[in-house]
Every structure is written in C-alpha cells, then in structure tokens.
Symmetry: C2
Amino acid sequence: MSMMAQNVYIFSGVVCYLLYYEYSYISSKRIAHYYSSKPQPHQFTILVRGIPVSSGSSCSETVEKFFTEYYPSTYLSHSVVRRTNKLQHLTSDAKKLHRRLAHLKSETNPQRRSIRDGFCGLFGHKVNVLDHYGKKLETLEDNVRMEQLSVAGKEVPAAFVSLKSRLGAAIALHIQQGTNPTEWVTERAPEPQDVHWPFFSSSFIKIWISKLLVVVAYAAVTILFLIPVVIVQGLTNLEQLETYFPFLESILNLTVVSEVITGYLPSLILQMFIALVPPIMIMLSSMEGCISFSQIEKSACTKMLCFTIWNIFLANALSGTVLYRFDIFLDPKEIPGILADAVPAQASFFIAYVVTSGWTSLLSSVLFRLKPLICSIIKRPFSGKDSDELEVPSIPYHSHIPKVLFFGLLGITYFFLAPLILPFLLIYCCLGYIIYRNQLLNVYAPKYETGGRFWPTVHNSTIFSLVLMHIIAIGIFGLKNLSLASSLIVPLPILTLLFNEYCRKRFLPIFEDYPLECLIKKDREDQNDPTIAVFYNKLSTAYEDPALMPIRHPRSTDDHNSPLLQAGV
Amino acid sequence: MSMMAQNVYIFSGVVCYLLYYEYSYISSKRIAHYYSSKPQPHQFTILVRGIPVSSGSSCSETVEKFFTEYYPSTYLSHSVVRRTNKLQHLTSDAKKLHRRLAHLKSETNPQRRSIRDGFCGLFGHKVNVLDHYGKKLETLEDNVRMEQLSVAGKEVPAAFVSLKSRLGAAIALHIQQGTNPTEWVTERAPEPQDVHWPFFSSSFIKIWISKLLVVVAYAAVTILFLIPVVIVQGLTNLEQLETYFPFLESILNLTVVSEVITGYLPSLILQMFIALVPPIMIMLSSMEGCISFSQIEKSACTKMLCFTIWNIFLANALSGTVLYRFDIFLDPKEIPGILADAVPAQASFFIAYVVTSGWTSLLSSVLFRLKPLICSIIKRPFSGKDSDELEVPSIPYHSHIPKVLFFGLLGITYFFLAPLILPFLLIYCCLGYIIYRNQLLNVYAPKYETGGRFWPTVHNSTIFSLVLMHIIAIGIFGLKNLSLASSLIVPLPILTLLFNEYCRKRFLPIFEDYPLECLIKKDREDQNDPTIAVFYNKLSTAYEDPALMPIRHPRSTDDHNSPLLQAGV
C-alpha cells in the first residue's frame, strides 16, 4: 500500500515539473513577445484615478499641472474621462439606425421601403421608410451633438495620461504619487479598444465599496446555485427520490428511465444552469470597477473557476453525505475523511459529466457555436440584421478556461480513485486540442492581447487540484486504516504549496509587469526609430472616448469606416 | 442589556476614531520629518542581492556594468558586501585589547601593571602587563591585516548601490530590474551605522528557506513556553495544586502563603521567563536574513507581540479550561463561548499582572534599568571595564512596545468584564508616560531613525484587541442567553476589520515608502544645495564594511576617535 503513496508522490512530482517547465516557457515567451512588439499606446499610458481637483480649476488643468511638474521630461498628453453613459446609448442607437437605413437603401423591393405608422405597422397610412428613418436619425444625431456638448463639462476625476517613454509610465505606475495614497492612484492602462468606457466610480472609496458588494453578491449567487445542484443530486440518488416521491416508484423501476435519469439527465440539467453563470460573473466583475474587458474577463474567469469547483465538484461530491451538515467545513480535521468518503462514490457521475459536459460542449459550444447560432436565429426576425453583418467572435476566456481547468481537476483527483475516467479525459484533451487550435487560428479574433496573463490562473488551479488530491488520499488511507501511508502523504501538500510559493516568487512578477531591463531596451530602440513622432501623435488621441468623437458618417454613402461605426467594435 | 451592547459600540467607535486620528497625525509627521531631513546616505542607496555573477568577471564589475547601462544619469557608486564574520571577531578582539591597554596605561598603581602568566594568574613568573598585552595586540592586528587581504576576494553577490537622486533609488527599488525576478533583488538600504554586517545569505532561495526555518523555530519556542505558563497557572488554581500534591495541603491553607502564591508568585515567575524571550526573538529575527538592526527589531517586536498575546493572555486565560483540549481551536464557532467562559475568570490574575509586571517593570527595567545594572555588576570583576566606559543605551523597542501594547489589550478586553482593572491601567499609563518621556529624552540614544514605522504595529495590535473584545462580548451575551445583544454585536468586528482595511489603504503606503512628490521636491532642493558634492563624496564610502577599514589607532595615544573603535558603536 505504500506503493500507492509512492504513485501519488511520482504523479505530483511529474505534474509539478511540468508546471515549472511551462511557467518558465510561457514567461520567456511573454518577454520575447514584448521585445518584438511595436510601440503600442497602452505601453506608454497609465490611468490615474482619484485626482484631487481643487474648486477653482478643472480636472484637466490639475492633471496637466501635476504631470508637467513631476514628469517634466516624459509627460506627453492626457485625456480626462467623462461620464458618457447616456451619450453611449444615443450613439449606439444612432449607429443601429444608420445601419438599418443603409440596409434599406440597398433593398430593391419597393414594397419593403414603406411601412404603416400605426399600431404594429398594421394600421395608419403608409410612410416612406427612408424618409421616416432619415428624420429619426437626424433628430438622434442632433441629440448626440447636444449631449456631447453637455458631457464635455461632466468630468470624472480620472484621466489617461500618456508619457513619452515606457520607463516613465512604469515609474508613474509603481511609485506612489502624492502624499495621500488614495489620491493620484495609478493603474496600467488597457489597450485603447479594450477600455470599458461606462465605468462609474473613479474614487478610491467607491471602488472599494463596490468590490465588497460584489464579493457579497458572488457569495450569494454561489450559495443560491446549490438549489439546482441539490435537485440534480436527487436525480442521481434514485432511492432518495423514491422516498421523497413514492408515486414515482413504478416509473423509476423501468431500466430505461432510471438509466436516463441517473446517467444523462442530471448533467444536462446542470449544464443548462451552468450556461447561465458566465454572463452573471461578467456582470459582477464589471461592477467591480474594472476599466477594461480584459480585466473583467480575467476576474470573471477566476470567479467562474471557484464557482465551478465549489458548485460542481464539491457540492456534487458532498451533497449526498454532508451538504446538509454544512458546519462540518468549520472542522478542518474531518475534511479528509469526508472527502475520501464522498468523492470516490461520485466517480460514475463525473465520468458521465466528462462525456455529457466535456465532449458535447466541445462540439456544440466551441466547434459549432450553438448558442450564438440559436440566438441569431431567434433574434434575426426582430432585429432586421443581415447575416453578413455577423461580427467576428472574440474568445470567451472566462467560460472556456474554467471548464478546461475543471476537467484537469477531475483528472488529477480521480487518477488513483477511478482510473477509468482517464481515457475519457484523454479523448477530451485530444478533441479539445484539435478543436481549440482550429477555432483559435481560424474562427476567433482576439479582442485584446492577453500577454499570457491567464497562465497564473491555470497554474494556481492545478496546484489546488494537487493539494485536493493529497487531502483525499490522506483521507482514503486513513479510512482504510493505513496510517503509515496516510502519514507518508502528509508532507506532500506542504511540499506542493512550497513549490507553488517558489513559483510565485520566481515567475509571477514577470506576469505582473515588465522588468526595467526590457523597458529601457525598448525605449532605446524607439529613440532610433524615425516613426516615433508619428506614434506620439497617435498616442495623444488614442484614449479619447469614442462616444465623444464627432459624428462623421456621410448619410448618403455606406462608409463603414467612419469613426462612429468603429466605436462599438 | 442592549445598553451593554451600546457601550461596546460607543467604546469601539471612540477607539477607532482615536486610531484614525493618530495614524493620520503620525503619517503627516513622517512626511514632515522627511521634508526637513538633510540628505542622508540611506535615502540614496539600495541593497542589491542575487547579483548574477558570470564566471569571467567579478561581482563588482557586474554591478558597475549593469548600473552604468541602466542608470546612466543617476548611478554614483557601489560597495560589494564581503563575508567578514571571522574578521569581525578579530577586530572586536583587537578593539577590546586596545581599550584594556589604554586603561592599563592610565593605571597609576604599578602592582596592577604586572600579572603572573600561569594558571589563573596565580603561578608562573611575573610579566609586565603592558608588554604582554602590547605583543598580543600586535599579533592580533597582524592577523586582522592578513584576514582583510584574504577577505577582499570573498565577495558575496550583494552590493550597496548609491545613486545620485532619491528618485533614482526609488526606481531601482520599485521596478523589477532583470527578467529573472530572483536576480537583482533590490531592497531599501538601512542607515550605514544600522547595517547588521554579519548577514549570511545573499541568495533569494537561502533567505526564503531561512525564513521558513525561523517560522518553525518560532512556533516551537511559542509552544514550549506553555510549560512555564502551565506551572504558573497551577499556582493560581490552588485546588488543582492540592489535588496534584496532597502533602502541600497544610501549608497552602495558611492565608499568607496562599495569598502570596496566588497573588504575586505566578506573575513573578512568568516575568522571569518572559525576560528570557526578547533575546531569543532577536536571535530568530537576525537569522531571517534581515540586513539591519532596525529590521531585526521590528520583526522581533511583532514576534514578541504575538508571543505575548498567545502565551500570556490566551494561555493564561484558557489553561484552566481548554488548554488540554487544544483541538478546540479548530472549531471557530465555539471560540466565543470558550473565551467568554475563561477570560472573565482570570480578571484578578491580570489585575495582579498589571501591578507586578506593569508597574514594577516600568520602575525596575525602564527607570532604573535593573537588568543592565545587575549585568554590569556581575561582569565588572571579569571584564576590567571602567564604569565610565558605559555605552549610551539604545531603546529596546522589541521588548517595550509589546509590553505596552499588551496592557492596551488588557484594558480593551476587560473594560466591560472587570472595570476594576481600568484604574490600575490608568496609573500604569500615567507612570509610563512620565517615565518613558524622561528616558527617551534624557537616557536613551536612538541607534537609528524609526521614522514612525512602529506605528502600524501598534494600530494592528489595537484592532486585534478590539476584535477579541467583540468576540468575548458575543460569547458572554450568548452565555447569558441574550441572543439579541449577542447578534447586535456581530456586525461590530466586521465593521472594525473594514475600518482597519481602510486605514491600511489610506495610511500604510506612507509608512512603507515616500511618495514621488516628496522625492522630487527633495531632489530639487539638493540641486540648489552647494554642499551636495561633499555629500556625494561621503556617500560613495558610507557603506563600506567597518571591519575592512585599515587599523589606524596609534598605539601610544588614547585616540578614541580612530575608525576601528567607531566600528563597533
């Protein structure tokens, strides 16, 4: 039986070696990518929040004064953020109307060019649609212009500040600016097209409070989700179902019914509920005060991962035994025993889960993109969009990464409990490799450059899986009264956590920021670059709110490259 | 009874208000002190560890090359650290001998100028002491010179790098230097006289391992210390003592004996054991890889504080009830009840503790400095030191701050359980204010500038006391079946922790570093300062190891200002 402990050691060692190798490889890739990158606006820009505007002067003046004083040689320009939520609604309406108008103009059937202006387009007299929409668009655009003028005054005490060198931006980022740490709070700027413009809070205290509220809301969602999990769990425990609903007994005794119910139905129901979760997580993350889609997605990815582990793995594994005695989690010593008792019992459920959720979701949601397809089929009759207007999809990291990582967790925790799961996972991995490779290369268009920043999440999740596996192993050897093997495993989680700590120190800083060496080398390259003056020009306007740009689409032609249309991409 | 909950709220509110006010006051003081300070070496210097020395070149060359490349405008000089432990022993021996020689030369009694060179100076023939010591000193100094030569090659891959501006030092400190985060690790340099020269480990991994080992050792010391605590606890529980040692019954029934034993003896014994702890903590902290006395003392102060709270407060309060059922601590829900049961019962012990430990230690150890006095009385016959050679004592922050904070904790936790403790604490505070004020102004000489960096420790300790008090309050109201009052208190610890979190964000960064605003203002002041060239000259030699300086004390005169003698100060 110490053979088994030995296996656990070897397995953990191999996983840790692979993790180390991959971390080192990805971090070197990240540095290499930085070295080979062209000057980009977000490398030179920081976001400053909590600007202490004195009553006499505007926010813009305050920023100008501060940065010309303290960054005299590197300060380039700034653009103050404005509260443009209303304006954004108006411009997006105008954009839609403009698009519909363009579509109608290209329409050849004259019947469709006129509608009735009464209830549901059924009564009233016929109107020329082109005129109707043209007028509507005109008033909308006038509104936009008026709103733009009024918004110019609504400054939020936050600004994107561009500097002339990467080092300058790094200094502004890393060194506390003012004597009050809650003022002049700096943050890395996202790529210009990645900015999530309608962010609300700029003050330190508001962001902090909204973060706290999001944590509470997240906990609430996670706990409420137990309800469908419990229902699913009830379906796998047929006996329990029969005791609750005795009248079902005759139906459940049919082999086919019971097989469908225990084998396929639970994970299908779970699937449907889980599909609802990623948008909720995105919503929560965007309420946190993140300023870019990339941040929102990264934060949602972590939330989604914890959610999946808690609600799919732990809740499913434990619901039959201890979910109702929730306070057991407050007693750390009992956890290994409980896990060892419950987790192996759910092996068949998770094997079915790999097939129903893993394989089918790979095929349906990743390869065929069923959900967007269904949505577009349902929406088309109402929106009047043309099929050739479909946007290129971006990669939904926040829903895919947690899914893949969860199957990694299943593989690691079940590798010695139920090795039968491994071939299923292997097929999943091979299928996944092929499908994701194809999708990433040919289908998805990246919305922003991740720079490998999702890797630490993958690493942490794998370390967590390893430690969970060790805890279950300790529990199992304990249950089987193999106290020697059980205590042989005890140092392993500690060693794994130390390994993780080492990796954090060795690699994580690279993923958080670029070192001085790279910054200065790139800055020196720029000095010899003749096109840098052009870049500086572009840089000074890169972070202007697209909603504030003047409407320039000519009404008579279909110029899709006008700035207003670009705004929503 | 909700009156009592209300009192707890008011009390917590007042304490938090005072904490906030004080934090803000001290942080403004800290900034003001920085503005008013003259240029000092440690403001311009950083310590670099983990220098990646390639086989072909020396450490010094590597540092020179790196900093001239990446800090071309601000790099000034550097001094590589060398392994000088052996040399330091030799120089300190030489110093002692030199001092003794000087003392003997001033001796007028010719009898004392000669000793017998045999066993204990009793047998053998008389030797002229001056000659004897003179020769000894000569060989010792030759050794020192040889060792200095050989040490010059023993470079540790660490160096103090001085830059020409405070901003330059801050950049080197805050931005990761190389692509490998474990190389070129920078750290704030301490004041030159504050450097703890015999630090061993320069590599990242060694420091990390030694930190881990220190944590383990610290836990061991803390647990082993329970033994004397249990003995003391046995003395306060007379009945328990009688059951263990029935033959003592007749003695213990005498009122005087039992009063002395229960009232005074326990805390006296505890006192004696506690006196042993600060040096142990200093030793542990110095093994952690700290590079300055100030860091060592700050780390020892935190260690000592946790130790005191755990071993004096919790162990004393709980030993009668649950010390033996140690696993109760793994069950968080029971803690309030246990504390509420145990803590009030020990009120009389802690009142006695305030008197015996607080008052007497203030008088004995702070005012009269009994321990150094006893030490010097014991040591004098052996060391031959003169009383006028007594060094000016430095402030032992690591033993005094935890003591004062512990009385703060007693005051906060017992304010509603046993208000009788408050007058005793008030007397302690008044006495303490007068005595400490006198000692700080007239007796102690600061070894280094703390810059208010101990305040966050005080703040955190007070917040901990408040939360502990809330937990005890919840437990007590729970025990008395006042579930309304009990649940009224529940939000209070959460609010207190949120308040603490706010303070961390609002004030802590100021204590960790100076903001860019200050740095640049001070740098600009320097530019207009005509004496800055002289300062730069001094700066480039400020961080040389004193053990490596040439021995320059003239043997015939008593020039106490020679560098060798300064070295040990």
